[in-house]
Symmetry: D2
Subunit: 333 residues, 4 copies
């Protein structure tokens, strides 16, 4: 039985506690939060969980085997370092750290102490993303042309990070999971209107070959949109995550260029066939991810969403910072 402590019970923490609480093989024994009202909420639902206000009670407790860190990004490094130093596996909210250097230090520490780092990239555990991965693996889409995601809504403004650090980790981790090639370069543009941090931003990611990715992230949209287009040589896919029942639509559509002896002779063939909406698993993604964490700790396995994955995503985020400052200048990774 793994004994877990959870640090942070704000917006996302309750989901983490609930999902680990309901897994076999693990027990949530303590929750820490600086806010007494948060601890009160824990106690109302889970009277058996120990409450504490000082994180060190968790990171240094010899009776605790694993720590979930669900706090603001800027605190991830210190907390994870403490926990790993005291021999605890860590489950860290995305993004893993505020800098790539911090991520590298955590990776080394975990390696040395033979501990698991898992970054909470919840989206790659959703039925939708796993189904898309299957379609790519089975070559249903053919060579990928582009990944184009729109992730906009009103708020939730963060105090310490801009809209890219808030929303883009979702897409970066999904791309990291879906696309075999790694990102080669990043360009980002954006603007801030309220608190000095970008609230509207656009990111282009270049890959080997002609594959291009683009993210549109926005905290000031009157409507919520969670739509990703994935264009391939053979088929094209639309993922609308707000649809209850038909999240994925695969279009048997394409364009072929033929006989292009010279540019004016080129024949463009458009193919337009059926659309198909594969059924998507409905299980809660976070529950699957928590299960996976328990399995990795028990079997001493390296998860695919490990420190390295977290490090790749943080490097992309750092690149957006540099590019933003230079109004879209390309940054090679």
């Amino acid at each position: 039985m793994i004994r877990m402590g959870v640090i942070g019970y704000g917006y996302w923490g309750p989901n983490i506690v609930r999902n680990f609480y309901n897994q076999e093989g693990i027990r949530v024994v303590a929750v820490c939060d600086g806010n007494p009202a948060a601890l009160k909420r824990v106690n109302k639902i889970y009277p058996d969980i120990r409450l504490c206000a000082d994180c060190r009670e968790i990171t240094t407790d010899a009776g605790i085997d694993a720590v979930a860190i669900v706090t603001p990004v800027s605190t991830h490094f210190e907390l994870a370092k403490q926990a790993l130093s005291h021999g605890k596996h860590v489950f860290v909210e995305k993004p893993l750290t505020a800098t790539a250097a911090e991520a590298e230090e955590l990776i080394s520490l975990a390696l040395k102490n033979r501990l698991v780092i898992m970054v909470d990239h919840t989206f790659v555990f959703t039925g939708a993303v796993r189904k898309i991965r299957q379609l790519i693996d089975e070559n249903v889409l053919g060579t990928l042309y582009y990944y184009d995601s729109t992730r906009v809504n009103l708020g939730l403004f963060q105090h310490d990070i801009n809209v890219i650090w808030d929303l883009a980790p979702h897409d970066f981790s999904i791309m990291d999971y879906l696309i075999p090639e790694k990102t080669e370069a990043i360009a980002a543009t954006g603007a801030s209107h309220l608190n000095g941090l970008e609230d509207v931003a656009y990111i282009t990611a270049y890959f080997a070959g002609n594959l291009i990715a683009h993210l549109n992230v926005n905290w000031l949209s009157p409507v919520k949109v969670r739509t990703t287009l994935l264009g391939g040589e053979k088929r094209m896919l639309v993922w609308n995550d707000l649809e209850a029942d038909e999240k994925l639509k695969v279009y048997d559509k394409g364009v072929e260029i033929k006989n292009a002896e010279n540019v004016y002779d080129l024949l463009v063939n458009y193919r337009s066939g059926d659309m198909w909406s594969p059924r998507v698993e409905q299980m809660e993604a976070l529950s699957l991810e928590c299960r996976y964490f328990v399995d990795c700790v028990e079997k001493n396995q390296t998860p695919f969403n490990d420190g390295q994955a977290g490090h790749r995503i943080v490097k992309m985020l750092e690149a957006t910072n540099v590019s933003l400052k230079n109004k879209g200048e390309i940054v090679y990774l």
Copy 2:
């Protein structure tokens, strides 16, 4: 009675001929196209229109007062120059020319010969765009934060221009019409997958203040999208041009930041009220634009979508070329 000749009867030409044909005060007397099949189609519908295969029959005909040029972009300059040189008013398909220098030469020539140049920026004559303009003029939206447009669909591949030159002139002319400030700089990214011309591209336009605009243009999308978000300090607007009845939705939503003595104390106030979908005029935009051309010629007026407007749009397009080549580097106008 203005006597008009039309050059080009391909994809868009039939709409131009039909709309000028039905106006009072103007007569379409001749149509030119190098393709005999096109001329046959003209004749079937308009047996009274003279057909010709050589453009000079139109540009130099003393009996013709105005010429509509509906040919590939690369030919606009030569044809317009001929027509203006022979004292004819011109109505030119967007974009006005292939280079800003060409546009400048046409503007000088028209000025010298006291002739009208109108660029076919059809979208600014739609009920939707005119209603948005009215909402901006009446300060319904407040200070503008961003203009974010998605204009994607499958095809229609052009032989001589990339997806930006094909689709972005719509948004550039709409922005030129709606936004009082002028674009200061452009950054563009993109990729080409089929014929060496970009078929997927993303453009950021910077304005004075914090206003930012972004266009997503794509010839390889399995679904057609024509959606523009316009965020303002007071209200936000969504324009879905594919909706039959509710093209515009105005959201009484907003975000305010208060009491921000230090970053951790900042209070974010979200306001969320009613949504309102104003009725939009249904008249065919191109018909209104053709009417406006006739009026400008008759009254010797300068249209707002004149050579200068066309020149501004071509300058933005040229900037995207430079930025694309440098993978998103900012280009100041």
Copy 3:
């Protein structure tokens, strides 16, 4: 070469003239309408078509082989009778006649004179309906459970018929085409709010077995809906005719009841699989129907949408009149 006269150039007439005009093997030689403005519109587009104000010029003209009747329902019988009596094939707007008795007389007359009657049931020539027919023929849906159609919008109020006679012929003819069994009984309810004719109505049609059909027709709806659900034992289908690209969606969903030894033990199995949207032919339905009319006349064939089909639909409409009067009482056909 068949020589055709068209009677009526109001709302639907222009489509009839245009579509017959463009067919090979037939020539529209004359159009009749009591309204001079309508004839003027004909002349502007088709200067070669003879105009006439008196229908007898068409129904009795020895130089005319076929007559299309596109006038109010109450006049169909007299005009068709005249035309058939003078040896002309007839193409009649739906519904065929105002009473079943009239339809029977026309059928006899056509039979005696060996002439074609075709009723304009345009919808059964659409790609969507033909694809649904194919799915039913191939047993993709399994035993049919229900046909449920909503056909509502604002207006167009008719002066002489209620909303059922205006809109239900579409569904009645589609059901007649799709469903192998014939309607056994009808129940209709409704209300009138403006001109004494029902503007909101609901029709239930019973078939052999447990198949039930229902139509919701309404002239007072603020939104336009054209949606039909078709439930089958094996699969279920939704046809949204207002969708541009995905008109048909086939759901691999179903319910099975098992082991029902007693009512409380019954096990309900829900099956929920993929959705599939088959590509639908985009050709204009009316063009196909006009082509079919020409073929039937040329080959002396009986169309499937013949007088008998028209008669079946009129009998159903008559039944709704009786049921409406008795507030929903069942009427056996």
Copy 4:
């Protein structure tokens, strides 16, 4: 402090327990269910609630002041009668009873013992329905023409009642709340395909004047629909309960008939203005209803969703039984 017992912890029971559990002024002290697994689930979440397998432990317990009955319809009468006889207020799941006679007996009993009966008509506590009521009260819609509701989805098959008794109580209670006039007559049609109970049904309700209501209820639909159209003389409303943000849309649309000296002269005026989507309260309806129950018990008030309201709905349901049996024959209430 009111002490409440809850009978039934199946599909809906957990919501009832949770909502009463979180109210001030009331304590859920006991839950009864014949199924041990259900009781186990209660205990896991609410270790402080007493569990019992025999309902009489609740209905006869002198320490209990109020009983919530969340069991199959056929058992409502006996359980409510027991509870009322032992001096307990009752909160009963819809529909109140299986027959109108049973409802009448409960009403008498409650009156005699001065006890509150509340029927769980949750929908009338939703923000959407309360906003519609406000629009009707403020005469925004004008004289009502029709209420047209579609409430379809796949399953959930009930063992003891047909689709009307399952789904129509929602609309009947909404109509009872929204429409000042009472239903005068009912006609219902339907069919059963699986377990001998109707799974597809259509109900017309007639009111004084020309107001008509219609419900489309279906357990065999591949898609979930929860849409109600409400047509009025001045404006029309669409309520789509599955929309997250724009549940209500009010259309400034209408039809007027003028100058109708004779039927052929009648002038139909169509009015088409803006659409407006009023903001709707997001509070959980059931929580408001539970609060209201506590208030009514504390203040000894008669709720508007009392036994009389429950009785009216049961009478309408009984009428559908009779009409269904006679294939749509009208049944006067």
